[in-house]
């Protein structure tokens, strides 16, 4: 039997990391300064990828409730939502920011993005995806109003707010400290995230 361990990793603002999780590990994403977005995707060794659309459909929710799961494109659960100390609401609707978005919004061609952070972090693990999956946007303040309009506001998470998942299968969990500074007013610039991994239930 493995010994229980806890590990914390700091993700600098605008950067991303890919972490190996075994089934049963708990992973917490912590907004250290408040108002920061954390875009996440998950990939299994067999090539299944987290799927926002199937997750919405399986849970019949815009975002899972505590105890509900993030699903992969093979319809199997990947991550179960265990704890959420933030006001949410989080997002499964829109894609990660990408170079095209920044170019179209006048921020130039070389702006860092969650899209590039995902692919770069996965490449460091030797994983190449043929496409960019829409991300699990933690702390994102996205709501759909009564006429179906999508409204994205400044994130309302506070310093120290955290979201915790339990891995339901072995997977690579990728987190990007969203580099979006185009839609945020100073001083709400991108800030660091912390990832805490607890191997408790896998031990």
């Amino acid at each position: 039997m493995n010994e229980r361990s806890k590990e914390t990793i700091r993700i600098p603002a605008r950067e991303g990391v890919a972490l190996d999780l075994r089934k049963g590990y708990r992973v917490s994403v912590v907004d250290l300064a408040g108002h920061q977005g954390a875009d996440c995707v998950a990939v299994t060794p067999g090539g299944a990828v987290s799927c926002t659309r199937i997750t919405r459909a399986r849970n019949r929710r815009l975002f899972p409730k505590i105890g509900q799961a993030i699903y992969a494109d093979d319809h199997e659960a990947m991550l179960t939502l265990m704890e959420d100390t933030s006001p949410g609401p989080h997002g499964l609707l829109v894609p990660p920011c990408d170079p095209t978005m920044y170019r179209l919004r006048g921020a130039g061609c070389a702006h860092p993005s969650c899209h590039d952070n995902f692919h770069d972090a996965l490449a460091r693990k030797g994983i190449q995806l043929g496409r960019t999956p829409p991300s699990i946007c933690l702390f994102q303040n996205v709501v759909v109003d009564e006429i179906g309009a999508i409204v994205i506001g400044v994130n309302t998470s506070k310093a120290g707010d955290r979201v915790t998942f339990r891995a339901e299968r072995d997977l690579v969990f990728v987190v990007s400290a969203c580099p979006n500074d185009v839609f945020k007013r100073p001083p709400l610039q991108p800030t660091d995230l912390e990832i805490a991994i607890d191997t408790a239930e896998a031990a």
Partner: protein, 196 residues
């Protein structure tokens, strides 16, 4: 100069769970007509030049800033390009990007579509990389607490949704269900009035 004449166009009828896949040229209009209440279909699409540029719910949401496309809207690709324009929708918001199709024979239908592309040498992504479907004659409502609720579309016989391709693409269609009414598909290559 004589007017361009197109051959008489005939629709293809798909019964429940039947499939259709073909290349649709830029500017062509795709008509989907319901045979009755309960008809539905899932549509997949990707660029003919690059099967990994695909019709995307997420990019469409981002660009439209709405969850329900309407006539006049454009559906976007994974490269944030306008891909399909919505020209007619008799069912009032009968194009559903929020839900997901997973009725019982779906996987076999997908296998059949993959084989159809292969047999006709039509470029397609790997099966696991197929895009997610857009459901037509379907609608999902969102409650105040974020629950997704089926909002049945009162489809009548003859109700139609018309889409127009913004660039050369592959379109695949699965007729929904096992006992649902059929749908007709017609591709009209006559270019529309608007520039691409």
């Amino acid at each position: 100069m004589p007017a361009v004449r197109y051959p008489r166009l005939l629709p293809r009828t798909l019964s429940a769970s039947q499939i259709w896949l073909d290349v649709v040229q830029a500017g062509s209009r795709l008509e989907l007509t319901a045979h009755g209440a309960g008809a539905g279909a899932a549509i997949f699409s990707w660029s003919l030049a690059d099967p990994y540029e695909q019709l995307s719910d997420a990019y469409t949401f981002m660009e439209l800033r709405r969850v329900r496309p309407a006539v006049g809207d454009q559906l976007y690709s994974t490269l944030r390009r306008p891909m399909i324009s919505v020209e007619r929708d008799d069912t009032d918001h009968g194009i559903d990007l929020l839900g997901h199709d997973y009725w019982w024979p779906r996987e076999k239908c997908l296998d059949a579509l993959v084989e159809e592309a292969r047999a006709n040498a039509i470029p397609a992504p790997l099966r696991r990389d197929w895009p997610y479907a857009v459901n037509i004659f379907a609608r999902t409502r969102i409650s105040e607490s974020g629950d997704l609720i089926d909002d049945p579309v009162e489809t009548k016989e003859g109700d139609r949704i018309e889409l127009r391709a913004k660039f050369d693409m592959v379109v695949a269609v699965m007729a929904a269900g096992t006992i649902s009414p059929a749908i007709d598909i017609l591709v009209d290559p006559t270019p529309g009035p608007d520039p691409l």
